[in-house]
């Protein structure tokens, strides 16, 4: 049997999932009746947002040159936050279909994903999609592909995932051009775990690609990385509906169930072998993605009296979602000002948004989400370093030698006209210019190195507005670098409010703290005395706001004889006061802190 294992990769929205649907249809894998758009996007959220979050693998048959082929392919997400999903998928393949939108041409994630595929030694088939669009310009796009990626323009296959045009040619090309899977290097079982998800009925379902030997139901297997044994209870393939099989042979891909209870028991990238006859060496795995963006989640309803129940609802929702998405981290966070919540880590901003949305939707809780921050490496005078995600965890300044922050390599693709403004933006964001390259006559690729902290602070919005929507960007973390970073403390009447402190670059400190103080000022009611709101770096005040003293708080009238109404108004004032925290003899509602920290 001929087997082709490949991934579909592209910039976001260039049509991967739609193309995957077409492949299913064209190979008759999907009965017309069952067909719904974007079949492989199974999460509600994926369908609604029209984006793919998790990679999904399917198996379909095709005939080419009178021979049968088994095509195993994986639809991948296009967004930069989920690049690790793409890398995982690629390790299970020998080839990749690189989809480029015929109107938009090459974009930032086109380049990033193409490079990923090349690094993994995959054969690339360039596909120009959406040729049915009036604005399609396949000839120009083919030129761009040749120019930037070095793939001959004439090799590009033109398709429309919408009309079905060119799909058969593409299927043929997949059989013809993609390499056969490599011959097994050992007769012992070696299967790569390239994904896993949790299913309420079956427990953990592992997606795996067999490289050597074969995987059968009933086998006692060993995961080489974790060293844990399991018994295979079920094997199958997605066609795209799950179909059970007795075994997965060499170079086949499918899913495995082995009574695994939690995702924590499985490491994606691990190698499966036989317990009784283990392979001497595991397959090359890959690094787990690292959380780079952090924020706090608080139960929004806790404002109504700090009820513990709301926090518990949130905790349950977090636990439940974590079973399905182990790529975010969370830990209990408590502060005097904000009460109980969670400090969470995400792969990126979109990942953060998606987790927040899923928690709210699937867990039925409303969340207040604080503005995102990054993690910092703190080098101590004794030569050691600690990593912190929360300014409140910063060690005593006397022990600190320096603070390092994550730096990214940023690649932007944008119209030539906007280069000047983008340069200015990057400059203002402490960027270091790396290179500039023509992509076509009107578009350029710009490379910068920039602190991640600057990227998560509305950078993408700025880029989009400067380029009127045409610019795209991709970034990857390249390491940590020291800069003039300091902790800014926020004080209310001289008393520091730890929950509001932040770490930022000295050059941004005034600007950022003034914004915080201004927000805070609006949230604090006037008291009988004047209240000083200050921002300080190591004892030096860098910004100040004042809440003036209350001069008048009296209801003029008693509403005729409606005494009840007057009393209820006062009772409301009283209840409001009781819910407040007292900091430096100032009453501040929890909502005030939330409002200051909340992401806009």
């Amino acid at each position: 049997m001929n087997i082709r294992n490949f991934s579909i990769i592209a910039h976001i929205d260039h049509g991967k999932s739609t193309l995957a649907d077409r492949l299913l249809q064209e190979t008759r894998a999907v009965d017309e009746r069952k067909h719904k758009d974007q079949l492989l996007d199974s999460m509600d959220l994926e369908r609604e947002r029209g984006i793919t979050i998790k990679a999904a693998a399917v198996t379909v048959p095709w005939e080419f040159g009178g021979e049968h082929y088994q095509l195993n392919f994986i639809d991948t997400p296009g967004h930069v936050d989920f690049t690790y999903e793409v890398s995982r998928a690629l390790t299970a393949c020998e080839g990749a279909v690189l989809v480029v939108d015929a109107a938009q041409g090459i974009q930032a994630q086109t380049v990033a994903n193409a490079y990923l595929a090349v690094e993994n030694d995959l054969e690339l088939i360039p596909v120009i999609n959406k040729i049915d669009l009036p604005a399609a310009d396949p000839v120009r796009v083919a030129m761009e592909i040749e120019q930037v990626l070095g793939l001959p323009a004439e090799d590009c296959i033109q398709v429309s995932a919408k009309t079905g045009e060119g799909i058969r040619e593409l299927l043929d090309a997949i059989c013809e051009k993609l390499p056969d899977p490599p011959a097994p290097t050992t007769d012992k079982l070696r299967a790569l775990i390239f994904d896993s998800h949790y299913d309420d009925y079956r427990g953990v379902v592992v997606s795996t690609r067999v490289f050597d030997g074969k995987l059968s139901v009933g086998q006692k297997i060993l995961m080489m990385g974790t060293g844990r044994p399991w018994t295979v209870t079920d094997l199958g393939k997605n066609t795209p509906f799950p179909v059970q099989v007795k075994e997965l042979g060499t170079n086949e891909a499918g899913w495995m169930v082995a009574s695994i209870k939690t995702l924590g028991d499985v490491r994606v990238g691990d190698t499966i072998t036989l317990q009784s006859d283990p392979a001497p060496e595991a397959l090359p795995g890959y690094e787990e993605p690292k959380q780079m963006v952090f924020c706090d989640f608080y139960p929004a309803t806790s404002a109504g009296g700090g009820k513990k129940g709301d926090f518990e609802t949130l905790r349950e929702a977090m636990e439940r979602l974590h079973i399905n998405d182990a790529s975010f981290t969370y830990e209990v966070q408590h502060s005097e000002a904000l009460g109980f919540g969670f400090r969470c880590g995400f792969l990126g901003l979109l990942h953060m948004d998606i987790v927040q949305e899923r928690i709210e939707r699937e867990g039925g809780v409303e969340i207040v989400q604080t503005a995102p921050t990054v993690s910092y490496m703190i080098d101590l005078k004794d030569g050691s370093s600690v990593e912190i995600q929360n300014p409140a965890d910063l060690p005593d300044p006397n022990h600190i030698e320096g603070i390092r922050e994550p730096i990214v390599k940023l690649e932007m693709i944008c119209p030539e006209d906007n280069i000047g403004d983008l340069m200015k933006l990057c400059d203002a964001r402490r960027g270091i210019f790396k290179s500039q390259q023509y992509l076509s006559e009107t578009r350029q690729i710009l490379d910068f190195e920039l602190p991640l902290a600057e990227i998560i602070y509305d950078f993408y919005d700025k880029l989009k507005s400067i380029t009127r929507g045409y610019g795209t960007m991709d970034y990857e973390i390249i390491g940590y670098r020291q800069d003039n970073l300091s902790k800014v403390s926020i004080m209310v009447n001289g008393q520091p409010v730890e929950a509001l402190s932040l770490i930022c670059h000295r050059s941004n400190a005034e600007h950022r703290s003034r914004a915080i103080l201004a927000k805070l000022r609006k949230q604090i009611d006037r008291h009988q005395f004047e209240i000083a709101l200050q921002a300080a770096i190591g004892g030096k005040i860098i910004a100040r706001e004042t809440v003036k003293a209350l001069r008048k708080n009296v209801t003029a009238k008693c509403y005729g004889g409606d005494i009840t109404r007057k009393r209820k108004l006062l009772e409301k004032q009283k209840a409001g006061k009781q819910r407040m925290k007292t900091i430096g003899s100032v009453n501040i509602p929890q909502e005030a802190f939330m409002a200051v920290l909340e992401q806009e």
């Binding site: 708080n553 005494i563 009393r567 009283k574």
Partner: protein, 403 residues
């Protein structure tokens, strides 16, 4: 699944019918100090007003008076002793057609037992006080008028969407005096959007010059669900700064004190002996009848409010339906007494105060009083606890700890 039959258990969940006033005073006779009657007609809806009133309802006046007169008769049967005050408010009672007004006054004096020298006040919109209306009022027994003057500046009246000509105020006072109603109170509003200290001084001076025997100076309140509050929220008007309003208030206290006026409550001043007795009934725990839509009444710790809407008020068997009905427990009653009586300049005798703050669960009240004294909001003076001048400006900050 088969048919689902609706099942009824023994306890049909039909909501309780709304209470009527009959359930409170409908049996026996009760001791009342005063009566309030609400006449909800207005010529135009002012933008700051959240009282229940309707405009363009001339055709409803007759049926309204019919019903109100019935209510007077009905409730009067349950009053045991003479009333010391009657207050007709609104709305604009003086907007009633003379013959209807006359009928209402007659019903009051015929059915309600009034004490000798009973204070009988009618709220009047200056524009509506014609010599004829003044005559009707006087002939019907009214001996006091409270005139909604608010400001003498056409610009500031416009800011409130209050439609009257400032010159109508002295005319109204004059007509009332001619008819024999010599006791007159003027209402003024302090802190109207766009007003300065100078505007306020001018308003107060003009009011003083008319020689009323009572003055109410209210700081403007942006009541929820009024057009003015909506404008404020949308930034269409700008509230007068706290500092400025506080200055206006302080100046007012000083100006009136030196002119021999007695301030007896946060917003009320009187010539010696001319405090409004009706107000004092409200503020010192007295009992009063409430007639007409949206009127609120009180009897020995039971508070109620008649339903507002005309139609709902007119429904039923002659007793008004109630919207709010509350039986106060001791602690709540004490809280109300503190809230109301501390607003009076004379404050509260320490003996009485003791029983309001001594019980269990009154810890917070005691602490608030101590803190209030420390912060200079409260003072002890000849055996009474009362607000200081600063305390009057910050009264709600204190009183909300005491309710």
């Amino acid at each position: 699944m088969g048919l689902t039959l609706r099942q009824f258990d023994g306890d049909p969940a039909s909501p309780e019918p709304p209470p009527t006033l009959s359930s409170i005073i409908g049996t026996g006779a009760h001791r009342f100090d005063a009566a309030y009657l609400h006449v909800p007609f207005c010529f135009h809806k002012c933008h700051y007003c959240d009282f229940y009133s309707v405009v363009d309802a001339d055709d409803q006046q007759e049926s309204f008076i019919e019903r109100l007169v019935g209510e007077v008769e009905l409730q009067a049967r349950h009053v045991s002793g003479p009333l010391d005050s009657v207050f007709m408010g609104g709305g604009t009672p003086t907007l009633l057609r003379p013959e209807l007004l006359s009928r209402l006054l007659e019903a009051i004096s015929t059915h309600l037992p009034l004490s000798d020298g009973c204070e009988w006040t009618v709220e009047a919109n200056p524009e509506t006080v014609t010599p004829e209306i003044a005559e009707v009022l006087a002939a019907g027994g009214v001996n006091r008028a409270s005139i909604g003057c608010q400001s003498f500046s056409p610009r500031l009246l416009r800011a409130l969407e209050r439609r009257h000509d400032p010159a109508s105020v002295p005319r109204a006072v004059e007509s009332l005096r001619r008819a024999g109603i010599g006791s007159c109170s003027l209402d003024l509003i302090m802190g109207i959007p766009g007003s300065s200290m100078a505007d306020w001084r001018s308003d107060l001076e003009q009011a003083i010059a008319l020689e009323p025997d009572h003055l109410s100076c209210y700081g403007l309140q942006y009541e929820p669900n009024t057009p003015l509050a909506a404008k404020l929220a949308r930034g269409r008007v700008e509230a007068v700064a706290q500092e400025v309003e506080a200055g206006m208030y302080e100046w007012t206290c000083e100006r009136l004190r030196t002119a021999g006026w007695e301030q007896y409550e946060i917003s009320n001043w009187a010539r010696p002996g001319r405090c409004c007795r009706h107000n004092l009934v409200y503020w010192t725990g007295g009992s009063w009848l409430a007639m007409g839509p949206s009127a609120a009444g009180h009897l020995d710790g039971v508070r109620w409010r008649n339903v507002p809407r005309h139609a709902s008020w007119q429904a039923g068997d002659g007793w008004p339906l109630l919207e709010d009905l509350e039986r106060l427990d001791d602690s709540t009653r004490h809280g109300e007494q503190l809230m109301l009586e501390l607003r009076l300049n004379r404050g509260i005798e320490l003996d009485r105060l003791d029983c309001m703050v001594q019980g269990d669960g009154c810890e917070q009240r005691r602490v608030a009083i101590e803190t209030g004294r420390r912060d200079g909001l409260l003072e002890l003076e000849s055996g009474r606890l009362r607000l200081t001048a600063r305390g009057r400006l910050l009264a709600d900050s204190l009183l909300c700890q005491l309710v």
